[in-house]
Symmetry: C2
Subunit: 332 residues, 2 copies
């Protein structure tokens, strides 16, 4: 019942050596073959598991990885998390996960929690501005951003999808189909994408057709519905995330807009249900899992030679949610 945990001392005693030797053997230090053998045998017999608590205190770091993302419920972030977990598991590191809800205040609070836990590596999909991250840097915590950049924080490496290319090919594809009034339905933290969108669209850009929602489903739906109602003249929309895409499909159905006859839709992020939709959704696939995995690699590799960041490719997957416009001006 109140059986004390077997400690390194017990192993040392049972093996007739000092605790230092046991520690060395278990951490891969140097030791004579016979000693190593004996220690390992005894440790196995006693089913000894070194306590991370003691080790962490000694080296003043928990060794764990902190992962902060907006919403674990969103499959995109879920896939990112999966990548992080996979990489961390292969390194034997625990991962502490926190959901920020895209709220900078909650984010700051969670950062504080991670620091208190002595986490020395953090992967984040940042919500707030760069200021939130001063504490982690000051505390010497290795920080890597995933999926998003943070305003005014070019000192933190980031692993992101190639939004420039993604938005570019999507816009090219739509204009190539004859679309001229193209809307962008964005979410939080997409400043980068927005500027690329404006740039790619060039003279065609119409600020009224650019609308950003907050992170919630309701907000996304409201933004989509409002956009479609106020500007019935738009012919194509680029949804900046699966939540936005879902909202667009729903709002379009509600307003009796047929996809792709009345409205062409391209959605960022390829999710399984994109194929189940009717029509199946044309999407820009992002390597979500890779983003997480690479970020974890970066953060595990440590501060050694900080790379500037990693850019992963996106891919336009054409399905059935876009139609040509202009030539056949949808008669009737």
């Amino acid at each position: 019942m109140n059986m004390r945990r077997t400690t390194i001392k017990d192993v040392a005693g049972a093996a007739g050596v000092g605790v230092a030797t046991v520690s060395r053997v278990l951490s891969g230090g140097s030791a004579s073959p016979e000693t190593r053998e004996r220690v390992l045998t005894v440790a196995a017999q006693l089913d000894y598991r070194p306590s991370a608590l003691g080790r962490n205190l000694r080296q003043r770091r928990s060794g764990g990885i902190g992962l902060l993302l907006p919403d674990i419920t969103d499959t995109f972030y879920g896939r990112v998390a999966d990548g992080v977990l996979a990489c961390a598991r292969s390194a034997g590191e625990p991962v502490i996960v926190g959901a920020t809800g895209d709220d900078p205040e909650r984010e700051a609070e969670l950062i504080g929690m991670l620091l208190e836990q002595g986490v020395d590596r953090v992967i984040a999909i940042p919500s707030g501005d760069g200021d939130s991250w001063a504490p982690t840097l000051r505390a010497g915590v290795i920080t890597v951003f995933a999926h998003r950049l943070s305003a005014g924080r070019d000192d933190i490496p980031a692993v992101v999808a190639d939004d420039r290319a993604g938005v570019g090919t999507a816009v090219d594809y739509l204009t190539g189909l004859g679309h001229r009034r193209i809307a962008y339905l964005g979410g939080p933290g997409q400043a980068q994408r927005l500027s690329v969108f404006r740039q790619a669209l060039g003279p065609l850009v119409d600020e009224e057709l650019i609308v950003v929602a907050r992170g919630s489903r309701d907000s996304a739906y409201a933004a989509a519905a409002g956009l479609f109602q106020h500007r019935p003249d738009l012919t194509a929309v680029l949804a900046g995330g699966n939540l936005l895409g879902e909202a667009a499909v729903l709002a379009a159905r509600e307003l009796d807009l047929r996809i792709p006859r009345d409205l062409s839709l391209i959605m960022f992020d390829d999710v399984p249900w994109a194929e189940l939709c009717s029509p199946p959704l044309t999407v820009i696939a992002q390597p979500a899992r890779d983003i997480g995995y690479r970020a974890a690699e970066l953060v595990l590799r440590g501060g050694a030679r900080r790379p500037r960041g990693v850019l992963l490719p996106t891919e336009l997957i054409v399905r059935g949610s876009c139609a040509a416009r202009g030539t056949s001006r949808s008669p009737r």
Copy 2:
């Protein structure tokens, strides 16, 4: 750069009191009002944050919560995780997440990791048999199961959806529509549901119509496609999870089975895309987030008066994926 972290000693020194007093003040112990005031002021000035490392070692527990689930990518588990995170955040507790992939071996490995971390509370959606959990119990770790029970482990409380009622109403609904050949497409860890299904179906049960897939998408698709091909006489299928439902829709489409004309489908778990499907999917909604939240509550409340477990209600949400059979025997 190499600025040492401010410790409780610094605070004690600056406030002119002993470390014990600071510790007491910060842990809510007794202290004179003026001392408390001074200590708090100084602590705030120095931006002191107690190190979880030291505390954990002292009281030989990390205080964190371990969360083990099959696949963080699956929105159902994602919602469970979200509930756990929400509850843990309100308690200020960190959550260490691990993905087992429904592999008992990986599960055991992750359990070992959690124990090594000194986690003293674990929430799990168990994969393996009950044996994996002997170590946590032996180590005095408060363990709670979520969503699933584990074979031969009635000593661990569980928070689950009311599968009995869920399967019951689904089967009743289908038989009420005239269906007689009803299949069950299951996943890992659904022994409980299976037995309920058999029981609810009574004499209509056909063992050949019961097929279980492993956790992967491919496996789910293979199971669905195999089932539909081998038994074209079945008229309805109950999918035991959103992954299985997705596979069923895909396989049906591939084999040119129209839903609901040729095949009625009920899916366990209401996901956002169920409404986006055409036809929209009839589902059995499960309170995934609540399951996680309640499990976290249970585990945080500690061992005090272990309840036998919690049963949360399910709800049949009728949409468009089920049609009547028998009366109008689908002519042509």
